[in-house]
Symmetry: C2
Subunit: 474 residues, 2 copies
């Protein structure tokens, strides 16, 4: 073992010798967390691919004008803007000084910032579709799994840098897409063993129909905001609140729709009756009927996880048809872990009108939290190296060759870097959760064997080298 030269600092000045910290609201992901997150990401990716979705990645930075004005006034404030370069020392450079003076006078915000970090995946996706409109094959089915940034006040479970995971189909009005999104949700959460999740479905047209038949068109906002509280305060209380500002008879018709009892089939039957007079409402309830009936036929287990939930609203302005929301198992108090719906004309924002779309998203950070709380990550997710070869300080060549053969067979292994005491080498294996320690001394080398210790059980055995690989699977 040769010893390296004396340490030499990279930067010589001691002014950088500071205690470092993370940007507030951001996180490092160490090995264990990356592995667990990858398990979630890979599961979602695999399922998206099984349904014909293709990957897309867009840059972290977008032109500021691509993002501004798309998320409301509050959203605009939460977009991270990037300082134009060359403005660092305005006291020294006339051009930089001028840029700042311009913005101070309210004249030209562009003079100091023209770029920003993306705030969600939807607008960059719309921008991509608009830019590549003529080249794309429709329906265009893409998924995207990337970080986004928001200058929100950091708090528990809310980060300034977090991942979004979206799949969308644009250029298709077919309800087949809605059916497949329900199947995708079920498949992903089943693979992640998240038993007890529920997929809530509603339809914006049904909500519109209910407003029409109740004579409450124009009061949607008040009503939906109030009904959104039903989870917490109950429908009884919602009823009382609505009566404070709205006509008694109208509210009564409304509550009649919302308080449908019985199975999904029965509810749909009653709603069809109730919405007969509304063209939009009938269209909506027929769509829901079709989706639920098809799901029941394709896979009754999936249909079982679906709930027809009229209280689901999800953003008044955005969606135009089916809306989805996935609730975490009730044992964990986390709420929504996914959602989406049908929208129209997203790319109209960028000059390409009339492309309908439907999409869903997975709340990957929350899914992670749910899986931690329910202890759903398999023990094996923590396993990096399967085996640590002990360094005995002798010629390690034979060991290195053995390791090369194992690696060719796909076995992850490492040699302890120096001839330390066994205690120290065992401790390294334990701390890295490496399940097998392997010792190959002169005796083992001469007999073509290895001493294999399973650190989880303490069991130790001598294994022929021909058979070593088979012993190390976990």
């Amino acid at each position: 073992m040769l010893i390296a030269d004396r340490p030499k600092p990279i930067a010589h000045s001691s002014q950088f010798n500071m205690k470092p910290s993370l940007v507030q609201g951001t996180r490092d992901f160490g090995p264990e967390i990356v592995r667990k997150r990858s398990l979630i990401f890979n599961t979602i990716r695999t399922v998206f691919e099984l349904y014909g979705f293709q990957p897309l990645e867009t840059p972290a930075m977008e032109n500021l004008e691509t993002l501004m004005g798309k998320y409301g006034e509050e959203g605009d404030k939460l977009i991270f803007k990037i300082l134009n370069n060359g403005l660092e020392r305005p006291e020294k450079h006339a051009a930089a000084k001028e840029a700042f003076e311009e913005i101070l006078s309210g004249k030209n915000a562009k003079s100091i910032t023209e770029r920003a970090l993306k705030y969600d995946l939807t607008i960059p996706f719309a921008r991509y579709v608009a830019m590549n409109h003529a080249q794309l094959t429709y329906p265009f089915k893409r998924y995207q799994l990337q970080p986004v940034w928001r200058a929100d006040k950091p708090q528990r479970g809310r980060y300034r840098e977090f991942y979004q995971c979206d799949a969308d189909v644009v250029g298709s009005n077919s309800l087949l897409n809605e059916i497949e999104f329900a199947l995708i949700y079920a498949e992903v959460f089943t693979r992640l063993k998240l038993d007890g999740f529920r997929l809530h479905i509603n339809n914006r047209k049904v909500l519109k129909g209910i407003m029409e038949v109740s004579g409450l068109v124009g009061n949607e906002k008040t009503i939906l905001v109030t009904i959104d509280k039903a989870d917490k305060i109950g429908m009884q209380e919602v009823h009382q609140l609505l009566l404070l500002t709205l006509d008694k008879d109208k509210v009564s018709t409304l509550m009649n729709a919302y308080l449908q009892q019985g199975s999904k089939t029965e509810k749909i039957h009653s709603l069809k009756q109730l919405l007969k007079q509304s063209v939009t409402g009938s269209e909506g309830i027929n769509e829901m009927d079709f989706i639920l009936t098809q799901l029941q036929s394709i896979n009754p287990d999936v249909a079982e996880t679906v709930e027809l939930d009229l209280t689901l609203a999800r953003g008044l302005d955005y969606y135009t048809g089916t809306i989805f929301e996935v609730k975490a198992p009730p044992s964990v108090k986390i709420g929504s872990i996914g959602g989406g719906g049908r929208y129209d004309n997203l790319t109209g924002l960028f000059g390409v009108p009339d492309i309908p779309g439907v999409g869903i998203s997975f709340g990957v950070d929350r899914i992670y939290d749910v899986m931690e709380e329910m202890q759903l990550f398999p023990e094996s997710v923590n396993t990096g190296s399967q085996a640590l070869f002990f360094n005995l300080g002798e010629d390690m060549l034979f060991v290195l060759k053995t390791m090369q053969q194992l690696r060719t067979a796909g076995i992850r292994c490492e040699l302890y870097h120096e001839a330390a005491k066994f205690d120290k080498q065992f401790k390294y294996a334990e701390r890295k959760k490496i399940p097998f320690a392997i010792i190959m001394g002169a005796k083992e080398v001469s007999t073509h064997t290895a001493l294999v210790k399973d650190l989880r059980t303490g069991k130790q055995e001598s294994v022929s080298l021909n058979n070593l690989g088979n012993c190390l699977f976990i």
Copy 2:
């Protein structure tokens, strides 16, 4: 679009109807490119894991003070700085106005920017190690594959957002690490079928030793910068250039070292003689000897790809021992596709001194370009869905059930979204490079068969549903 209380895109306002564009120097990665890049990324990841490296991810944003001063004055200028939030309308808000006035007066740059996008993976890694020093298990072996951002002038092959891919071992002086990095490089490029790559190895101590024995200590910078041009102008011309400023005898000793002929073994033998008088030089040449000898014994094929290259310098200040550089096959004129070396005291920048390290990096964007040029991406990398089921407009339930079974067996498939003309459905499959088109009409359903057309060959056959999955592998 998951979290209900966060703003959502507003799709109706026409004021935003503009032609969108990308930020200069950034790229969208469409499906085909993501798939090809993933092939490279997954290969590198798999090999890192085989050697016991663990994944790490750090945020895109770092505190500005973590980055500033680490990359030289030029580097500082190329760091993308993020505008503090709440400064958008200084003409309206007193606090924002004050912040701008402060920076204009040269008083407090922090008042407008405190965060920045990461410029490389090395400094954030050092920051992570320093912050988590007490909790980490040493040697700490991590890999990291993430984007970085630089405000460089965009040009062909140079982007403002690009990926870096690094692996480092910190806390170990063992040359085992260098040996394994050479094996890792060879394994990755062999798996990617990049025949003809060359791994150049040098050692900073050898360079130092050569300066010592030539009596040229103090002239390293001039010499190494001149020698760096040998690739283009030849050693003869280098010799002439050096003679312009340096003593003839000293340059003669120097050239004697650089112009060693013969095999690697012969070169090492001569260099050992030449560097006898230099402690550092002898140490360096012994290290190289050890690494090359071990590689030869472990895997002669790998040793064959290694070149002892004294002209390799790679950043004067940074490295202290072994240095690596991987050259693309000579048939493509792209040059370096990877590099690295041994350094000391990286975390000293953040108050945790004396942790030695060694690391390598893969130039993933360039590797992509090389593989495109050499046409190394397999045809199958473009395959998303393996099969497109045609939509016949009849009850598609049986088809949907069949597709569910195929997906359970891991086969990626999709149903055309509407009952369009066959021409249109064929065209969709072709444009998406889906290899199989499947038709299941009433006749097929009743006989439990499917009509499978291989779109690559035009061959068509009737297949029993029990056997359908086996026909669709590619």
